[in-house]
């Protein structure tokens, strides 16, 4: 008989590190990341899938972590904003091109929506052919699902183009 549980232990890989948590089955992935695993970089905005602030990558694809149960990512690989930067080999970290672009273009003000934007855009840019020039439609698609209520979208879109250009340079 299939077990019907109120609580489960979930094993997953977060930013390349194996993690485990025992959670009530109603725990949202967003809350599991923040409360159970201590990764507070993932922000919780609307909690019903509208704002995009909680976007993380599950097996490489962006998803709203408030619309996924923690028990559903058992055995999966999750990447959060804490996993965007990489080691520079000298004890420090190198920001992801999207993070660099956000800093360069002033694409964040209060920063609340930023982790969701960074994850969505990073996944979008990593999935496309970096050598191709990015179209306005692609840019719109990458920012259209996330709400920002202070910076405004002009600088965020500028950052997407900036990051795409940087990644294009790297691809050469």
């Amino acid at each position: 008989m299939t077990p019907v549980d109120a609580e489960r232990t979930v094993s997953l890989t977060v930013n390349g590190v194996p993690r485990e948590a025992t959670v009530p089955v109603r725990r949202l992935l967003s809350d599991a990341l923040r409360h159970d695993l201590g990764l507070t970089g993932t922000h919780v905005g609307c909690e019903h899938g509208v704002c995009g602030a909680c976007t993380v990558l599950v097996d490489g694809a962006p998803v709203r972590s408030c619309l996924v149960l923690a028990v559903q990512v058992d055995g999966r690989s999750v990447r959060t904003v804490e996993g965007l930067a990489r080691d520079d080999g000298r004890g420090g970290q190198l920001l992801h091109p999207v993070q660099e672009a956000f800093r360069e273009c002033h694409a964040l003000q209060c920063g609340f929506c930023t982790p969701g934007f960074l994850m969505t855009i990073a996944a979008g840019l990593e999935a496309r052919d970096a050598a191709e020039e990015i179209s306005e439609e692609e840019v719109d698609d990458m920012v259209g699902g996330n709400l920002c209520r202070c910076t405004g979208y002009a600088n965020i879109k500028k950052a997407v183009r900036h990051a795409a250009a940087a990644m294009r340079e790297d691809a050469r």
């Binding site: 549980d5 149960l69 559903q72 698609d141």
Partner: protein
């Protein structure tokens, strides 16, 4: 808010899923993509006692395109229908409306998890795929402990967020019949942001005769009415040449046929106006596609 407490099962087979659903009765709810269900839980609009997650059930993630139509399994994500894979490309050739409408379903992060079949089972009048199922004359395959059956779309949708699905049942797939020869489709929406719920949307199918004159024109609308409806607009354009039909007459006919509701986003009159606008935009596009498919 957070979902109210529930218990959770993730059976590894369809039989096990049906077993849990039967044992738990009315309080059990099927979870597939969860992109509509989880918001309902978090807003406490629904509080099922048990979620039966079907994501581990094998064989439900396939897109099968044949000459008769496209069968979409219950675990096929919206994103998978948008192209990129051979199955999605074959599906787009057999019934182009499917991918065309799916492009309007939510944002990429939602499309990565949400399922086409789940969207149909959710029966939201502002969902795209319910109307596409209706417009193409489709049906859903339903598995219950006593066997499987195919339910035509008109018998499936009962009201907003309400279907005729029995309690212990899983919708295992949806079937979208093939686009007939000499027919074309188009789909358009007006939404506040790309990917948001449509204020109004329209899907149309135009069929031509051997002389490239309109023999049928049908439309279904999004966010208009309580359940999907197919409106026959043929009388306004019957027998007219595909490249010079009086589409504005068809748009006027459509405005008279629909009975939209008002909500926070739009009044009934504005929605009726948009029905006319979108009908006028989509019909000539569908006719043009029908012409090019006739030539092929």
């Amino acid at each position: 808010m957070k979902p109210a407490p529930f218990r959770y099962a993730d059976p590894g087979t369809l039989d096990e899923a049906l077993e849990v659903l039967s044992a738990e009765g009315e309080g059990a709810k099927v979870l597939a993509g969860g992109q509509s269900l989880l918001p309902l839980l978090s807003m406490r609009l629904a509080a099922p006692a048990v979620l039966v997650d079907i994501n581990r059930v094998p064989g439900l993630d396939t897109i099968e395109a044949t000459g008769d139509g496209v069968r979409v399994g219950a675990l096929v994500r919206h994103g998978a229908l948008l192209g990129g894979g051979p199955d999605a490309d074959a599906a787009a050739r057999v019934q182009p409306l499917l991918a065309r409408a799916t492009a309007h379903v939510a944002h990429p992060a939602i499309r990565n998890r949400g399922t086409t079949v789940g969207s149909i089972a959710h029966a939201d009048p502002s969902g795209e795929m319910t109307s596409v199922l209706a417009l193409t004359g489709g049906s859903v395959a339903v598995a219950t402990p006593s066997g499987t059956s195919e339910i035509p779309w008109a018998d499936f949708f009962v009201g907003p967020l309400e279907t005729s699905l029995p309690a212990a049942a899983v919708v295992t797939s949806a079937f979208f019949p093939a686009l007939p020869p000499r027919a074309g489709t188009a789909f358009a929406e007006i939404a506040r942001r790309r990917g948001d719920y449509a204020v109004c949307g329209a899907g149309v199918v135009v069929t031509l005769d051997d002389d490239r004159r309109v023999s049928a024109a049908r439309a279904a609308y999004i966010s208009v009415g309580l359940v999907p409806e197919v409106h026959d607009l043929t009388e306004a354009v019957a027998g007219q040449p595909a490249d010079a039909a009086d589409w504005s007459a068809a748009a006027a006919l459509a405005r008279g046929k629909v009975d939209p509701d008002a909500d926070l986003h739009a009044g009934a009159g504005y929605r009726r106006h948009l029905v006319g606008v979108l009908t006028g935009r989509t019909l000539p596009a569908a006719a043009a596609e029908a012409v090019s498919r006739s030539a092929a």
